[in-house]
């Protein structure tokens, strides 16, 4: 059965790499990749949306994905 899961995703082209999201993430699921953009570690992300709210450039969106194994 396929379950739906929420995940954060950042628009690399508009990310300013300030790190607000990484700091706010309660699961430490975001890191700033080489000072260029925010990279979400999907296996850790629970899609809570804290990062999307805090992101000053509003480049993080929460998407719904279908995942195997519920």
């Amino acid at each position: 059965m396929k379950a739906k899961r929420k995940k954060a995703t950042a628009d690399k082209s508009l990310c300013v790499a300030c790190g607000s999201c990484a700091k706010a993430c309660p699961r430490k699921a975001i890191e700033i990749f080489k000072g260029i953009y925010a990279a979400v570690r999907e296996e850790r992300c629970v899609g809570c949306g804290i990062c999307a709210r805090i992101c000053p450039a509003s480049v993080i969106t929460i998407i719904v994905r279908e995942a195997e194994n519920g």
Partner: protein, 192 residues
């Protein structure tokens, strides 16, 4: 669950102190150079934006004011403000103003211009600030302090205005140091 705070989370105290101290003694303005050199050195030698990510006191201060004090409406910043054109345009403008300030400092150093004991807000409005200077250093040294403090006050003001309009750390979107260090990181890590 609240995470245990680190000493890095208290850098906002330094930012707030800087603004306060410059009100009483303008020579503290010189300390603002740290906000200029530290992020640059970290990005040039480390290839990261650790300064923005972990240490920036201004970012923390704006987050605190906007979030904890609930002063920020958490509205989305307009698209043009996060465009490359605006971010790099603002960087160029900001650096031009910085060079202009250095030039004025040099004129005072060389004696062809007298010390102006004012703080320039938004590069336009000159506020009297004479109480914060009581001599003791070369006029050029004091002029640089007035100039640098003006830049810091102006950018703090812009940060507060965009915090009040959009999200707490909206300043980070167009912060010239942030734009510059991100560009340095991109260049440095291009071939890795």
């Amino acid at each position: 669950m609240a995470e245990k705070k680190s000493w890095r989370d208290y850098m906002w105290i330094i930012s707030a102190s800087y603004i306060t101290l410059g009100f009483f003694n303008i020579l503290f303005g010189w300390l603002g150079l740290a906000c200029f050199f530290i992020p640059l050195l970290i990005s040039v030698f480390g290839g990261t934006k650790s300064y923005c990510n972990k240490y920036c006191g201004r970012g923390q201060l704006l987050q605190l004011l906007g979030d904890k004090l609930r002063l920020s409406p958490y509205r989305d910043i307009p698209a043009w403000m996060k465009s490359r054109k605006f971010r790099y345009g603002f960087l160029v403008f900001f650096m031009s103003m910085f060079v202009n300030m250095i030039f004025v400092t040099w004129l005072v150093f060389s004696g062809s211009r007298s010390l102006e004991q004012t703080v320039s807000l938004l590069w336009t409005f000159r506020l009297p600030w004479h109480w914060a200077y009581s001599g003791g250093v070369a006029p050029g040294v004091a002029q640089f302090a007035f100039g640098f403090y003006s830049i810091m006050i102006t950018s703090t003001l812009l940060g507060i205005v965009t915090m009040l309009l959009y999200k707490p750390r909206s300043w980070c979107v167009y912060c010239p140091m942030g734009t510059m260090t991100q560009a340095i990181c991109a260049l440095k890590n291009k071939n890795k």
